[in-house]
C-alpha cells in the first residue's frame, strides 16, 4: 500500500513538472528563457517518473536500470542545453527586449568561435585573456 502511494505520488509530481516545463516553453519570450524552463523542470520530471518505476517494481535489476536512466538524464541534460544554447548564440537568435545585459557581446571571434576580450577593452581587461596573439582582431 505504501509503495503504491509513493509510486503514484512520484508519477503525478513528475508529470506535473513536465507540464510546467511545456508551459514554460510555450509562454517564455525568447530561446534562452525557454531553455531555462524546459531543461531543469523536464530533467527533474523525467527523473522522478523513472524513479517511480524503480519504487514500484522493488527489484534489483529494475532499480539498477532506473538509476542508470536517472544518472544519464542528469548528466546529459546540462550538456545538451549548453550545446544548443551556444550554437543558437552563434547563429544570432534574437534576445528578449527586456534583456538587461549580454556579457558575451563582441567577445566571440565570429570565425573561430573562441572567446577573447574585445580590442577596445581597457588594458587590464584585455590582458586577462591569454596571449595577445590569441586575442580577437578585426
Amino acid at each position: 500500500m505504501m509503495i503504491e502511494i509513493l509510486t503514484g505520488f512520484l508519477l503525478v509530481l513528475g508529470s506535473l513538472l513536465m507540464l510546467l516545463a511545456a508551459l514554460g516553453a510555450l509562454r517564455m519570450p525568447d530561446l534562452l528563457t525557454r531553455m531555462h524552463a524546459t531543461t531543469k523542470a523536464g530533467a527533474l520530471g523525467g527523473g522522478m517518473m523513472v524513479l517511480a518505476v524503480a519504487v514500484f517494481f522493488d527489484d534489483g535489476a529494475v532499480t539498477a536500470r532506473a538509476l542508470a536512466i536517472v544518472v544519464f538524464i542528469i548528466l546529459t541534460a546540462p550538456v545538451a542545453a549548453h550545446l544548443i544554447g551556444r550554437a543558437a548564440y552563434f547563429v544570432g537568435i534574437p534576445l528578449w527586449e527586456g534583456t538587461l545585459k549580454d556579457e558575451l557581446k563582441n567577445r566571440y571571434d565570429p570565425e573561430t568561435h573562441t572567446l577573447a576580450s574585445p580590442d577596445d577593452a581597457t588594458p587590464e581587461d584585455g590582458d586577462k585573456g591569454g596571449k595577445p596573439d590569441e586575442r580577437r582582431r578585426d
Binding site: 511545456a22 523525467g46 518505476v53 532506473a66 536512466i69 544548443i84 543558437a88 547563429v91
Partner: protein, 93 residues
C-alpha cells in the same frame, strides 16, 4: 490499488496536455533552435509516458525502451547543435 490506477490515469492526462502545449511551440518556432528545444522536451515527455506505461501494465521491460530513447534524444540534440554551429540552414529568414 485504486490509488495507483488513479495516479496512472492522472499522469497520462497531464503528460498528454504537456505534449499538446509543447507541440504548439514546435509548430510556432520561430527559429530552428526553438524547435530543437521543443523536440528535446518531447523526447523526455515520451520517457515519462514509457515509465507510466510500465507501471500501468506492470511490465518492467519497458525501461529498456526508455534507456534507448534517452540516449538517442541526447545524440539528436548534439547533432542539431553541431549542424547549427557549422552554419546550417535556419528557417526564419
Amino acid at each position: 490499488m485504486p490509488i495507483l490506477d488513479w495516479a496512472v490515469t492522472a499522469s497520462f492526462v497531464i503528460l498528454s496536455l504537456a505534449l499538446v502545449l509543447i507541440f504548439l511551440r514546435l509548430l510556432k518556432g520561430p527559429t530552428l533552435p526553438d524547435r530543437v528545444v521543443a523536440l528535446e522536451l518531447i523526447a523526455s515527455l515520451t520517457v515519462g509516458f514509457i515509465a507510466t506505461h510500465a507501471v500501468a501494465t506492470r511490465t518492467a521491460s519497458f525501461l529498456d525502451v526508455a534507456v534507448v530513447l534517452a540516449l538517442t534524444a541526447f545524440l539528436a540534440a548534439v547533432g542539431f547543435a553541431r549542424y547549427l554551429e557549422k552554419g546550417g540552414h535556419r528557417d526564419d529568414d
